[in-house]
Subunit: 239 residues, 2 copies
Amino acid sequence: MNPTFSPLYQQIKALLLKSLQEGEWMPGEPIPSETELAGRYGVSQGTVRKAIDELAAENLVVRKQGRGTYVSTHNEDKSQYRFLRLASDTDENARPRSEYVDVEKVRANSVIAKLLDINPNDSVFVVKRVLSFGDQPHIYDEIWLPGQQCKGLSLERLQAWNSTLYAFLEAEFGMRMLRATEKIKAVSAGTEHSQRLQVPEGTPLLLVERLSMTYSDKPVELRRGWYLTEGFSYRNELY
Amino acid sequence: MNPTFSPLYQQIKALLLKSLQEGEWMPGEPIPSETELAGRYGVSQGTVRKAIDELAAENLVVRKQGRGTYVSTHNEDKSQYRFLRLASDTDENARPRSEYVDVEKVRANSVIAKLLDINPNDSVFVVKRVLSFGDQPHIYDEIWLPGQQCKGLSLERLQAWNSTLYAFLEAEFGMRMLRATEKIKAVSAGTEHSQRLQVPEGTPLLLVERLSMTYSDKPVELRRGWYLTEGFSYRNELY
DNA sequence: AAGTGGTCTAGACCACTTT
DNA sequence: AAGTGGTCTAGACCACTTC
């Protein structure tokens, strides 16, 4: 059979992705109704539906019965900490408070550059922050962001922001984190991390390396987080 | 609206789940075709399809175009290490070798009993084993299994088995692990774990507590795994 | 050739939200 | 009342596997 064969609904999905990527519909906004899209693309409503089903399964859009289908955003209560897997062993719903410590603009070293798929020596921002539950710091994050896409990022702007970092990046720079991969290791707290998390040196910590991607799986954020797991744990679901 | 309302396809899904649970179709076997099921339940083929779609999304069944829909099994290459998230940083596809160390029948303490949803003092098997990649042990597991469901489990039988533990439990005792939750912490290797994993005491390890569930989210296995993450990492995907 | 799942359509009706 | 997504149907045809 034709080697370039692709089901109609996959082609529609690709067209929808293109429109999303190009910003035809912005995060938080509704996309056109299924019937309208069916008309636009000259296919049946059911085919559009199947395309949107997949986008919804990937969390790129959110369906709301009776209202419409909306472009996902990190700027909503429900998706506020969508990627945060550390939770209290006693209070599942506890939410952390963020304290930004430092923002620097530096040249990417070869490791960072390779992971972010940019050129070595390209400028990158390094953001350092601490997430606390109650009074206890539990996460120290170092976050690398491509300089190109975050012009004008500063400590002051982050400190003035009162929602999540991803909401900030989405609102200020149009960066949309759609999915991420994490690699987790166990490490001992060194001098710096023990201070950041206010624990003794040698305390076992999770080291969580996250690479976040936007459309077409393009990496746009690298993050290393040191997690203190006393009374807390990293949650995962297996299917 | 009727508070007990449930879409037809959800009702069909529930009926299919019931048949799966009751063993009408066994792991590895095909379930009846969509048209046959549609006839049996007196609904359209499309409605059966949507029910099966959900079962497939939850990995309870596997669709094979042109062949049929099969009950999932842990006894197949593709799903062999379905729940194992530790992977080498250099060779993603490396598979571990399992060495069973000990099998004991004991009384469940209150913690274990509560997690497994059984009565304290009910008998449980404790299985201890080491998973190695190459010559290096990387995982030491302690596994609790309800005694009721594993009558006749022994070290010898496990050592004689040459596939995964879940495949064994499925084949020998009809235990089907459908999904699991994991809670991960960072810990320091104590005397026992340092010996099991052949690393110095104090080496940072991941402690992975897994609770595996069968139909109706009934817990059937509790597992604590100590993971050595030198050259390896626990992988996760966020959406 | 026959049987399976996979795609696509068109139309009907339901449930929910907004006006 | 009108518009949206959600369900259900019936029928056609396609792609893949087995016989």
